[in-house]
Amino acid sequence: MSILTVEGLDKTFGGLKALSGVSFSVKKGEILGVIGPNGSGKTTLINCITGFVRPDEGKVLFKGGDITRWRPHKIARIGVARTFQVMRPFYSLPAYKNLIIPLWSPRARKEGGWRGGGKHGDRDTVAIDILEEIGFERDSRVPYKLASTLPTGYLKRLELARCLALRPEVIFCDEVFSGLSASEVASMLPLIEKLKMGGITLVLIEHRLRELFKVADRVMALQFGEKIAEGHYKDVIGDARVKEAYLGIEEI
C-alpha cells in the first residue's frame, strides 16, 4: 500500500540537472533508504517532495492526493515531515522549548490532542513526553538543558523530535547518522525501529551504508540525479552501476 508516490521528478538549477525523471513509491510503514554519492541529488529530492524547491516537471502524490508544488508548511501539515541536514536549533532555549514551535502548528494541536494557547503546563508536558520517547532521559534533566550544551547525538534526536511533534505519517530524514560516532549511531537504530513500529513511514537519506542496511526494508540508489537501482539492499549493492558509482565499495 503506497503512501507516497513520486513520478518523473525533474529539477534543473542553472546549468545543472539535479534530478532527472526520478520515480519511486514508498509503502506505508516501511523504511526506505536512499543512497548515492555526493551530488546525486538526494537533498534536492527531499526539497522537491517537501515543497522547499519547486520541481520543473513531475508529480508527488501523498495518499493519492497531488501535493506537487505545495508550500512547505502545507505539506508538513498533512503529515509529511522532514529533518534538515544542517541543524540550527534554538541554542539559547532549553531543549523542550525548541519543540514549542512545531507544537504550536495547527496539525500538532489537532493530532496531538493538545489545545494550543492553553496552559503552559500542557504544552510543556507534551514536549517533555516527546523528548522522552526520543531518548532524552527525563531523570537526568536532559530535556531542560540548553540546546547549546547538547552533543550532536542529542541534537539529531531533537531534530527528529521536531518532526514527531507534528504526529507525522512520513518522515524524510536527511543524513541523521552523519556526524555521529559508531556507538551513537548504534543507539539511534533502536529509535528508528521504534518509530517504524509506531506506524511511521521513514525515508532515510544516508551515507552510512552499514548502519542503514540494518534497518532499511528497501533501498534506492541515485546518481547524477537519476535512479539507478532499487530493491533489497543486497541487490542494490550488487548492481554494477551502483558499484561503479561508489568506486571502491567494500563487500558488506
Binding site: F13, G14, T43, N47, F52, V53, F84
Partner: protein, 288 residues
C-alpha cells in the same frame, strides 16, 4: 513617432540611473541605499570643480566620476566591510549613509535651482520633424555604449567573470581563490562610478537638486522590483516599461502622473509576480 523617440530616450535615461544600484546588488547582494546620494554628490562635485575651482568641464567630469568611485570604495571599506553578513545592519547602514549625504548636502547649501551643469553639445537636430536636443541623443548613445561595454566586460575580462562568479555563488567563488571582499570593493567603486557617470550625463538636462537623490533612489528601486532584483535584463526591460509608460501618460494625461506610474507599476508587480519580471523564484527562499 515622437512618443517612440522620447520613449526610448526616457527609458535609456532611466536605465542609466538605475545602473549603479543594479550592479552593486547583483554582485554583492547589497541594496545600496546610498545610490541616490552618490548620484547627486557627483553632480555637485563636478559643479564645484567647474564653478569654484574653475577647472575645465571635461576635467571636472573626470574628477567627479573618480571622486564618487572613491567615496563608494571608502564607504565599503570603512563601514560596510565591518558589518558584512548582518543583513539588517547592512541595510540600515547604507540607508543612514545615503540620508546623511543627501541631507548634509542640503544643509551645506545645495538649495534652490541655481546649480546647473551645462550641456555638452548645445543645439538640437531634427529627427522626423521633431526637435531633439543633442544632449538627449548623447545620453541615448552613451547608454547603449555603456551597456554593451559592461556586457562585454563581464563576459570576457577576468575581473568581470570573477564578479559574475561571486554573484552566482559566493562561497564557491571564494574556494576558487576569488577574493570576495576585494571584488565587492571593486563592485562598489564601479557602481558608484557608474552612478556618477549617469549623473554627469543626465544632470545637464535639468538642475542639480537634492530631491533628485530621493527620486533616483525611487526609480532604481522601482526598476529593480519590477525587473527583478539583481537582474540586468530585468532592469533594462523594466526601464523601458516605465519609460514608455511615463511618456505615454505625459502625452495623453499630464506630467503629474509620472510618479504615480512608478507606484502603480510596483504595486501591480508585487501583486502579480512579486519577484519581478526576471526574478528567479529560487532566490526567494534562500538557504535550505
Amino acid at each position: 513617432m515622437e512618443i517612440l523617440l522620447f520613449g526610448i530616450i526616457n527609458s535609456v535615461t532611466l536605465s542609466l540611473t538605475a545602473l549603479g544600484f543594479t550592479l552593486v546588488y547583483s554582485i554583492s547582494r547589497l541594496p545600496n541605499f546610498a545610490h541616490g546620494a552618490l548620484y547627486v554628490t557627483s553632480g555637485y562635485i563636478v559643479w564645484l570643480c567647474v564653478n569654484t575651482l574653475g577647472l575645465n568641464y571635461l576635467l571636472g567630469i573626470v574628477v567627479g566620476i573618480v571622486a564618487t568611485a572613491i567615496i563608494g570604495a571608502l564607504m565599503y571599506r570603512l563601514i560596510i566591510l565591518r558589518i558584512r553578513g548582518m543583513q539588517i545592519s547592512e541595510i540600515i547602514a547604507t540607508y543612514a549613509i545615503g540620508l546623511a549625504i543627501i541631507e548634509g548636502l542640503r544643509w551645506g547649501g545645495l538649495r534652490g535651482s541655481t546649480f546647473t551643469l551645462p550641456s555638452f553639445l548645445a543645439g538640437s537636430i531634427e529627427i522626423g520633424g521633431i526637435a531633439v536636443d543633442h544632449q538627449r541623443l548623447f545620453v541615448l548613445g552613451s547608454g547603449v555604449v555603456v551597456f554593451a561595454a559592461l556586457g562585454l566586460f563581464v563576459k570576457f575580462t577576468k575581473t568581470g567573470l570573477a564578479l559574475k562568479a561571486i554573484a552566482q555563488d559566493e562561497r564557491a567563488a571564494m574556494m576558487l581563490g576569488i577574493d570576495s571582499d576585494r571584488k565587492a570593493l571593486v563592485s562598489f567603486a564601479l557602481g558608484s562610478g557608474l552612478s556618477a557617470f549617469a549623473a554627469v550625463l543626465i544632470l545637464p538636462l535639468g538642475s542639480i537638486v537634492v530631491e533628485t537623490g530621493y527620486n533616483v533612489l525611487i526609480y532604481s528601486i522601482a526598476v529593480s522590483i519590477i525587473g527583478g532584483l539583481g537582474s540586468w535584463g530585468g532592469a533594462i526591460v523594466a526601464s523601458f516599461l516605465i519609460g514608455f509608460a511615463q511618456i505615454l501618460t505625459e502625452v495623453f494625461l499630464s506630467t503629474q502622473y509620472q510618479m504615480v506610474i512608478s507606484l502603480l507599476a510596483i504595486i501591480v508587480t508585487l501583486l502579480l509576480k512579486p519577484s519581478g519580471i526576471f526574478g528567479k523564484q529560487k532566490e526567494l527562499d534562500d538557504r535550505v
